[in-house]
Symmetry: C2
Subunit: 375 residues, 2 copies
C-alpha cells in the first residue's frame, strides 16, 4: 500500500427511522428503517468543523479511498484524490463518504429486506430523489455531530447532491465543489438513461422487477455499455481504440467482438453485472432524471440566491454528457447573486470520466480552493 493511502478502512452502518417512524420521501411515500453505509478517512478536529462530505455518482459507493483488505487489488473509487497530502488531505480534513439510498451497496435500496414482507423490496421500494438522498445524508451528519461541513464535493450525480445540499441546507455547507455536473439533467441525458432502463425492463429475466438471483444481466450489460460511451469523449475513443481490431489483422466477417472498442464495451457491460443490481440502476437513473433545481427552487438566479457556500465549479472540455455550457449557467446564477464562486474548465481528452482520472489537475484546483475557504 502506498505511503499516501488512507490504508485499511472499515465501512460502518448508521440506521435511522423505523416502521413506526419512517422517513417521509419527496414522493409522499415513506421508508424505514433506513440504513446508511459510510466510511470516514482522517480524524475530526475538536469541534468537528473540518468535515468534508464526498458524494458518489451512479455506479459509485461509500468506498471512496483506501482498502477493505490488505489483499484488495482495487482501492476506493476516488483514492487518487483522498489521502494524506492528496487533494482532500486527510492530514487536515475529516472526509466522509456515504452510500446513497436506492443503491445496492449497503444503504437501504431495492435489494434490502422489506420489513413488511421479509423479502427484498424490489419494485416495492419507493422511488427516491436526489433530495431524499441528501436528507438521508443529513441524518448521518447529525448523528456524526457535524453541524456545518467544511466542504463537500461530488462529480456527475455526486454534483447533484452537492447542489441540493447547498440549496436545501445553506447553513450546513461552508463550501461546495461541484464537478462535471449541471442544474438539471438534459433531454439527451434522459434519453440515454431511457435506453438503459428499457434495455433492463425489456429483458425477460427482469420479470417486472421480481427477479431472484442474477436477473436481467443482459439488459443491465447493455445499459452499462451505452452509459460507458457517454462517459468517454470521441477524441479518447479515437486515440485509445480507433478502428483497431482486437486480435487479428484481417476482418473475420462474423459477429464476434472484432473491433477493440467492441470487445472493450462488451467486457465492461458484462463485468458491471457482477457488481450492480438492475433494479437499483432503474431507481438511481430515475432520481437523476428527476433532478432539476428550477423545479424545486425556481429559476436559477432565484435558486442560487439561497446559497451560502463558497462554490467551486469544475467542468471538462471534452465532457459532452455534462458540457461546460451547463456549468456556466450555474456560475452565471451565482455571479448574478454576488456570491463567491470560482469556475474552471479543465482541458482534458477524458470526457465525463475526467473527474475520476485527471487527479493531478483536480488536486491543484481542489487544494487551493479548500485552503482559501479557511481564510
Amino acid at each position: 500500500m502506498e505511503s499516501n493511502s488512507v490504508g485499511l478502512v472499515t465501512p460502518r452502518t448508521f440506521t435511522f427511522g423505523s416502521v413506526e417512524e419512517p422517513m417521509v420521501l419527496e414522493s409522499g411515500r415513506t421508508l424505514g428503517p433506513v440504513d446508511i453505509v459510510y466510511e470516514t478517512y482522517g480524524e475530526p478536529n475538536a469541534d468537528r468543523s473540518n468535515a468534508i462530505l464526498i458524494c458518489h455518482a451512479l455506479s459509485g459507493d461509500h468506498h471512496a479511498a483506501g482498502h477493505h483488505d490488505p489483499h484488495d487489488r482495487r482501492s476506493g473509487w476516488w483514492d487518487n484524490m483522498i489521502g494524506p497530502g492528496k487533494g482532500f488531505d486527510t492530514n487536515r480534513y475529516w472526509v466522509i463518504c456515504s452510500n446513497i439510498i436506492g443503491g445496492c451497496k449497503g444503504s437501504t435500496g431495492p435489494v434490502s429486506i422489506h420489513p413488511a414482507t421479509g423479502e427484498p423490496y424490489r419494485l416495492a421500494f419507493p422511488v427516491v430523489t436526489i433530495g431524499d438522498m441528501v436528507e438521508a445524508q443529513k441524518r448521518l451528519l447529525d448523528h456524526l455531530q457535524v453541524r456545518r461541513l467544511y466542504s463537500m464535493a461530488g462529480g456527475s450525480m455526486g454534483g447533484f447532491q452537492v447542489l441540493e445540499w447547498a440549496l436545501r441546507y445553506p447553513e450546513r455547507v461552508r463550501s461546495a465543489i461541484c464537478i462535471a455536473s449541471a442544474a438539471r439533467l438534459s433531454a439527451q441525458a434522459i434519453a440515454f438513461n431511457t435506453v438503459g432502463r428499457s434495455a433492463i425492463t425489456r429483458d425477460p429475466e427482469w420479470h417486472a422487477g421480481g427477479y431472484e438471483g442474477r436477473g436481467p444481466e443482459q439488459g443491465l450489460a447493455t445499459a452499462r455499455m451505452v452509459g460507458h460511451i457517454t462517459y468517454l469523449s470521441e477524441i479518447l475513443l479515437d486515440a485509445k481504440f480507433g478502428r483497431r481490431l482486437q486480435s487479428a489483422d484481417r476482418f473475420c466477417y462474423n459477429f464476434t467482438n472484432e473491433f477493440a472498442i467492441e470487445s472493450y464495451l462488451n467486457y465492461k457491460g458484462s463485468a458491471f453485472t457482477e457488481r450492480f443490481d438492475a433494479n437499483s440502476y432503474l431507481y438511481i437513473t430515475k432520481a437523476m432524471d428527476y433532478f432539476d433545481i428550477s423545479r424545486s427552487y425556481g429559476p436559477l438566479k432565484q435558486a442560487f440566491a439561497r446559497v451560502a457556500a463558497r462554490c467551486l465549479f469544475v467542468s471538462y472540455s471534452s465532457d459532452w454528457l455534462f458540457p461546460t455550457s451547463q456549468t456556466k449557467e450555474m456560475v452565471r446564477a451565482m455571479l448574478c447573486n454576488s456570491k463567491p464562486v470560482s469556475f474552471i474548465e479543465v482541458d482534458s481528452p477524458y470526457g465525463h470520466d475526467a473527474f475520476l482520472v485527471e487527479e493531478e489537475k483536480l488536486t491543484r484546483i481542489v487544494s487551493g480552493f479548500l485552503e482559501g475557504v479557511a481564510r
Copy 2:
C-alpha cells in the same frame, strides 16, 4: 397526391448469379442467386446518360419516392427531394434507387431463402460489405444499360456507397453527392453500433440468429432507440422535448414512460420492430463498421487520386454522428489532388437526420450542383 409527386410506383426485381455461378463477396464467400429490388422515377433519355443512382441508409430501402398504393399515408423516404421540379428533378433525370443486399426489404439478405436448405439464410447469410452492395448495384446498372451515371447521391451509409462507387468505378460516375457521411466509421459510431448489436444478440429470443417469426423484438427496439439518439442533435432534443412530461404536471414516481423524450424513444423503438429484421440490423451495421476507404485504397490523399467524378460534399452543423470534420478530411484529399470538389456545411439543428428533413436547403444545393455537371 401532390402535383410534384412521382405518383404511383411499382418496385421491380432484378436477379443475377446462381448457385452455380454465384457472386464472389469481399470476404471470399459466395452468394447466388442475388435479387435486387429497385424503383425508377422519371424517364431515361436516348443514351441513358441522365441516370442518377440514389443510395439509402441503414433503415431505408428502394422506395425513395412516390406511393405504392393510392391509399398509402407514407411516401418514399426521400420524396421531398425526388420528383418533378424537385432537387432530383424527374422531368430531367432518370432516378434509380435499389435496396442494398443484406437488408430485409426485398433484396437478398438474411431473411431470403437459402437455396441449399429451402429455409431462410438467417446467420448462414455471408457478411457483406459496402463494396459488395456497390458490386450488386453495378450489376443492376449493367442490366439497365447505364454506362455512366450522370450523378449519384446518398446520406450516411448511402454516402459510403457513393464514395465506394467513385473509388471503385471512377469511369462510371460523372458526379457524386456525398451527404452527412465520412471516409470511415469512427470509433464512437462503431461503439454505438456495438450497443445495438449487443442488445439484439443478448436478447434470448435471438436464438443465435435462428429465431422464427418476430424474434428479438426487445433487443431490436433497444438498438433502434440508441441509434435514434445519435441521429438527433442535443439542441433539437432540448427544443422538441426538453424535460417536458408526457401527460402529467407532476412526477408520478414510478417507471412508466414519464418524460416526453422517454415516451417518444420507446415508441420509436417498438415501432421499428414492425418493419425491420433483427439479423439484417446486425449485417448492415457490420458493413458500416467495416467501411474504411484507407483500408481499401490507402491514405485519403492517395485514395481520392482515383476519383474522376465531380464531387459535392454536404455536412450539417449539428450532426455529431458524422461531424463536419470528417467531411472536411475528404474535401482536403480532393483538393490535394486538384479534383473538382464543392463543399458546404449546412446550418441546421436537426443533427444527422437533417439530410432527410432539411429539403429546402438541400434542394437549392443539389439543383445547382446537378445543373453545373452538364456544363
